[in-house]
């Protein structure tokens, strides 16, 4: 037991769960700085002088400079470690498969606390939810926190195990692991699943497949317009966001195509240099957020991917996407009959209107916001938390 506040699991786990702290070896931190000194930066071109062809060279130079001298990994690490974290040994869906699953958590001492499990996406991580956890632990004490918040790292991300070497791993496999995690933590009276980006599919799978999952909250529900929905069934704001969505579909999805069809190549490309990784991932933080996060926030994320060497391990959801998988929010086979909540943020890159999302399940809760984008929990933690508290308050009996 780590002794940190909110760190006592409420039930004796039936799986092995140990305390976890980030502790990147000093030599790795030094090596990263060394590589940043040595990494070449491509010369100026017409394309990299603009903002419309991805990150600009100017941005990259500034970010690398900050990474070299302004960014303090140890300070970030200390801040991250102020949150309770754990490493659990969890079985997968195949016999003999066992995974390390890393998660951050705030556990309550209340008997009636509602477990909420939140799933990040790509290029996200559990770090996205720390601002939200920060608000919670200021607002509540362990004795009155009305929830348990559990934030796992997906398989292939952060400090969780990579997917197996010998077979193609799917999001359904990942969801099975997460289902076993929650069960192993002893939450037998149900939990709420929450997700955005790739995590939204994991959360939906739990809502569909796990009887113990009682409700689903999404801030991302990418799908095509259902036939049953008219073009007029959108608010002006939703319509505006859809127009931006169309642009993204034309110009913004090459990364997904590459990740999904040339998974090996791009993994090798991006693992070869921290600067390349920063450009590829940084672009997403800039393009998909309402307000661009600070260098520190972006670099913290990229550092996590770099130190854990996970960029080549995390693309299986994209491979699945491009191999004819039927998994999707719009597929009736994945319709959710349990209570479904949806938070809509205007700068989400793939912003499905309420009328679309309501065809995918028992939509009982919907909030539309005037700020916030794809990384909603990271960008608007207070609004996000408000929505979650209201949703759970409404649906949890």
């Amino acid at each position: 037991m780590s002794g940190k506040p909110f760190s006592t699991p409420p039930y004796p786990p039936t799986i092995s769960v140990s305390d976890f702290d980030l502790a990147i070896p000093e030599e790795q931190v030094a090596l990263l700085k060394h590589l940043l000194q040595l990494s070449p930066i491509a010369p100026e071109t017409w394309e990299n002088k603009q903002d419309k062809f991805g990150v600009s060279r100017e941005w990259l130079l500034e970010a690398v400079e900050h990474w070299k001298s302004g960014f303090d990994w140890r300070a970030q690490e200390k801040e991250i470690n102020s949150f309770p974290q754990f490493l659990a040994k969890v079985k997968g869906s195949e016999p003999d498969e066992e995974f390390d699953v890393h998660f951050a958590a705030l556990f309550s001492e209340r008997r009636d606390a509602v477990p909420i499990v939140l799933f990040h996406g790509w290029p996200g991580s559990f770090l996205e939810f720390l601002p939200l956890l920060s608000i919670l632990r200021s607002k509540y004490t362990p004795t009155n926190l009305p929830f348990h918040f559990i934030v796992p790292s997906l398989i292939g991300y952060g400090f969780s195990s990579p997917p197996p070497l010998e077979r193609s791993f799917s999001l359904e496999d990942c969801a099975s692991v997460m289902q076993n995690l929650v069960e192993g933590l002893g939450f037998k009276d149900g939990y709420v699943a929450q997700g955005g980006d790739v995590g939204s599919l994991v959360a939906r799978l739990l809502a569909v497949n796990d009887p113990n999952c009682k409700a689903l909250h999404l801030n991302f529900c990418q799908m095509s317009k259902p036939d049953s929905v008219g073009d007029q069934d959108v608010s002006p704001e939703e319509g505006e966001a859809l127009a931006a969505n169309a642009m993204f579909g034309q110009l913004g999805i090459a990364y997904a195509m590459e990740q999904g069809t040339k998974t090996s190549t791009i993994g090798l490309v991006l693992q070869s240099s921290p600067v390349g990784l920063l450009a590829w991932v940084g672009e997403k933080f800039i393009e998909c957020s309402d307000q661009t996060p600070s260098f520190d926030v972006i670099l913290e994320s990229v550092s996590l991917y770099w130190f854990t060497r996970t960029i080549a391990k995390c693309f299986y959801p994209y491979r699945e996407m491009f191999s004819g998988s039927q998994l999707g929010h719009g597929n009736p086979n994945y319709r959710v009959s349990k209570p479904l909540g949806y938070s809509w943020f205007p700068k989400e890159i793939l912003p499905s209107p309420k009328s679309w999302v309501s065809t995918t399940g028992n939509l009982v809760f919907h909030r539309a916001h005037t700020s916030g984008g794809h990384f909603a929990a990271l960008e608007e933690p207070a609004l996000f938390l408000e929505d979650l508290e209201a949703f759970v308050g409404q649906v949890w009996k």
Partner: protein, 384 residues
Amino acid sequence: MTSTIKVSPFKIEITNEKLDELKLAVKHSKIAKQVYDNSGNTYYGVTRDWIIKARDRWLDGFDWKKQENRINAFSQFVASVPRPNNKGNFDLHFIHERSSSPTARTLLLLHGWPGSYLEFLDLIDILKKTGEYNIIAPSMPGYAFSQSPPVDEEFGKEDVADLFHALVTGLGYEQYAIQAGDWGASILRIIAVKNPNSVRCVHLNFIPVGPPDGNITKPDLSSLTPVEKKNAMNSMKFLGEGRGYSEMHRTRPGTLGLVVGSSPIALLAWIGEKFLEWSDLDPDVDEILAATTLWWVTETFESSIYGYRDATGKADNPAWFIKTPTAYSSFAKELVISPKIWAEHSANITWYKYHEKGGHFAAMEVPDALAEDIVEFLNQEWKV
């Protein structure tokens, strides 16, 4: 025949310092851990094993100087070529092998991406021996030792086409033929359409067109031979699954150039994948390393992909139909293989041959076969 443009002889001389820098950058590059995706199913791109083997060879065994000597055996030049509309001059690097025969025919060879003029060396050797051709093989703007596109204005395929026409005519040739594949084929198309009096005939090994009725989702394959049907299916597979790279080039060249420019291993993976996947038989790893070394030391990856967002000269655009007599050499392992009856809607095809062997880099892979095709076609359309 006199040159009206300023031409200086050129030899490649990559300094040892630059080569050492490259080696150091390779050593500092990290190799991703083994995962399911990189373990051997090359469908997902280059494998980890291949990258490690190629990297090890690059550090120990690959001899750039040997490659350099081979390349320098060809007559290379840099010319200062005037751009139209008083846009100033532009330096173009090229091989120029002039025949001593007064009746020699001039042939312009255009490479594509991730190609270079190196692809043509064997072909040039074969054609040189006949003594019947003046051969010009330029480096595209932004490739190898040609000047890069300007950093403060858009630069596209028509700019390239105009430059190449000005190069050939500036060297004193009034008429010429052109051979091209990959996006060199778009440049060829623009030159031929814009300069019908100068271009005698053209040879293409790449004519990527869909069915004449425009229905690419459910093409009418009924009038195709079994081989043509199979090739059409493979082409659609490529269009469905093989375009991640070109979409990145088209939409995010800023990011991609910075990513690939950050490590020679990143560059090797990105372009090595194409050499392996797009060829019939895998090229020798030294050939891939020579190309990658040239890309790296000239820092030209990021300046090589401007053509992807420019739709000028597309094969299926009627505005760019080639009226000039056209040869179509179709190779079985090409990425997008249009049957002759579809390609006829894109060019005035007067000569056609289908090859069972050879892929996207025809000149590099099967130079003898390609040379034979060119010679036969030129003898047909450009009688001396």
